[in-house]
Each structure stands twice: as structure tokens, then as C-alpha cells.
Symmetry: C2
């Protein structure tokens, strides 16, 4: 078991409806030392890739992405979830469905900050059905940049997102893949990883 | 002139209506080396304070707060701008007005992550009229924690926020305070700092 799986077992809470609450260390309160371990581990797993920029999405991806970026020595760009009056000029826009909030949103990146030929690592906290991630990938493709890696903290392996992305041939690394959760017993089963 | 003021002069763009665009390095694309310099500088300016936790607000405060947190060796909590279906239990809620988006929002922090007696450093990217900051302060006060410092990247010194907060006796440190901007000439005048 790795450091993140151990932490999930220690502090994660399984709720009805396949909800895993990790807001004590990942996406409301944030444990920066844990994020540094994640940065080291992503650096190791994407050792072969020449990463030039990290792309993430607001809000809970930003903290992880910024700490991970130190290990790659690259800037971070975060996709915004709604059009801000301060975002102007030409924009990449993708439509994404939100499982958590049960609605459709646009995600937006300024064309100034994703360029043709750039090598991108996408970072996010969760991967479930993969809608947000698909939106980010489509934006990178629209820019003519390449997705050289996708680094996820926690993947819900029993949902379709991860399988779809791997089937498409992307280099996806999830630090913890949950194959099964049971809210009655609180048990969490992780997929074995090398 | 300090490192942030220099960067603002180099890459910031002054727009009509007292808008300063810094999205190439601060709040859309993020320069992590710059954030590290900010972390060092906040650590210096709040040397006397015993900080136990950093509080910020989504989305653009999160990246800065996470990098700054490394210099204080503390966790970060970010206030959410809307009620997520995954936020449950008892919540601190404050009403804030948004100048940028011209609407009223609630900002929310779970009661689990702010405790009585905790020493809090508030971090954010911008301070203008101070509405978001007032909401964060009210949440800290409601928790019975103390605001031991407020660290801002860019303060619009010609708006009321900074003066109000200083009048209230808070230890507010803004790395760059803009006293005047002119969108026709593109000039930016900083308030001299020690």
C-alpha cells in the first residue's frame, strides 16, 4: 500500500452513493506534505515524459497541481469553470457534465496559455466518470498541444472514466485506484499497483 | 521595487475600469517560482506570528496559499464559494459581494477545519474593496480562532479594502500596493514600502 492509500484508509470516510470524503486532507483542508509526496511520485511515474506545463481545473485541482509543478519546474494553468468578466480574448471552451453538482458547465482556458506543440501534464484530484478530464483533453487537443501524461490522486476504478482514458491510449497514472467501497462497513478495496 | 512589483510592471496589463490583468503569472497561468518568492517574503513579514493554519478562498487564492504554506509548515483550508453537495455537517457561512462578478455569494468553511484558538494566516491574490476578505475574517471570528496575519499579493491601494482592514487593527501585508493605474499610458504607481 502506498502513502496515499494509507492516508485514505486512515482519514477517508465512505458515504452512501459511492461518495468518498477526503476533505480533511485533499479538497477542503489540504495537507501540503502529502501533496509533496504526490509530486515526487508523479515525477517518478512520468520520468520519461518531457513536461512543459501542468493543466488543471478549479478549484480542488489547483493546490495539488501547484505543489506537483515544483517537481517538474513548470508553470500551471487552471481551467476556469465559468466565464469571468476578467477573462477576455480568445478562449478554448469545452462543455462538461458534473456528476457531483448534477449540471453542465463550460470550462475555459485562454488561448494565450496553451500553445501548439506544448507538452502537457494534466493533474486533478479525482477521476470518476471522467467528464472534467475529457473536457481538459479536448482543450489541449484543440490547442494543438499534446497530453503527455495525466496524474490523478484518487480514481474511482468502478466508474468508467479511467478505463475510457486508458483505452484511448493516454498515459494515466492514478496514485490510488479504488475498486470497491462499502459505506456500511467502511471498507475500501484498492486495485493493486506495481 | 520588489520582485512582485517588477513582475507586474513587466507582465501586468492595465485595462479600463481599474482592471489589472495578471493572468499570465498569477491567476490563470501561475508562475510557481514567483509564488515561492512570495512564500519567503510572507514568512519574513510574519516572522513574529505563530501561524497554525492558512485560510484562503477559491479559486485563485489556492495556488498561492499552497506554496506559501510550505514556508510556514501548516495546512491550508480554502473557503468554497457555493454549497457543494459533498460539503456536509456544520458550516461557517459568510455573505460576500463580488466586485468582479457583480453578485452576492456565500462563502463556506466546514466547522471541522477551523477550531477555537487556532492562529490563522489569511492569504489571497487580490485586495480591492475587501468584501471577500471581510467574509473570511468573519468566519475566523465565528470559529473563535484569531487572524494573526493577512497576506495579499496585490492590493489596489486606491480602493477602500486595505485601509478598512488596517483601521480595524489587523496585520495586513500586501506585497505590491498600487496607488494609481492609467490604462491610457499603461503606467502603474506603487506605494513605497519599507
Amino acid at each position: 500500500m502506498n502513502f496515499l492509500e494509507e492516508r485514505i484508509l486512515k482519514d477517508g470516510i465512505v458515504k452512501k452513493g459511492n461518495v468518498l470524503k477526503v476533505d480533511s486532507f485533499l479538497n477542503h483542508q489540504m495537507d501540503i506534505s502529502l501533496f509533496e509526496q504526490m509530486g515526487e511520485e508523479f515525477r517518478r511515474r512520468f520520468e520519461q515524459e518531457k513536461i512543459e506545463k501542468i493543466l488543471t481545473i478549479e478549484a480542488s485541482g489547483i493546490g495539488i497541481a501547484c505543489i506537483v509543478a515544483k517537481y517538474f519546474q513548470v508553470p500551471v494553468v487552471f481551467a476556469k469553470k465559468a466565464k469571468s468578466v476578467n477573462l477576455e480574448g480568445e478562449l478554448y471552451i469545452a462543455e462538461v457534465e458534473s456528476f457531483t453538482h448534477k449540471c453542465r458547465n463550460q470550462i475555459i482556458v485562454s488561448k494565450k496559455y496553451l500553445k501548439q506543440g506544448e507538452h502537457i501534464l494534466i493533474i486533478d484530484d479525482f477521476l470518476a466518470n471522467g467528464c472534467a478530464l475529457q473536457g481538459l483533453i479536448s482543450i489541449v487537443n484543440e490547442a494543438g498541444a499534446t497530453v503527455d501524461g495525466i496524474g490523478i490522486a484518487i480514481e474511482k476504478g468502478f466508474q468508467i472514466g479511467g478505463r475510457t482514458i486508458r483505452n484511448l491510449g493516454y498515459h494515466l497514472e492514478s496514485l490510488a485506484i479504488i475498486d470497491k467501497m462499502d459505506d456500511e462497513t467502511g471498507t475500501i478495496t484498492f486495485r493493486p499497483q506495481k
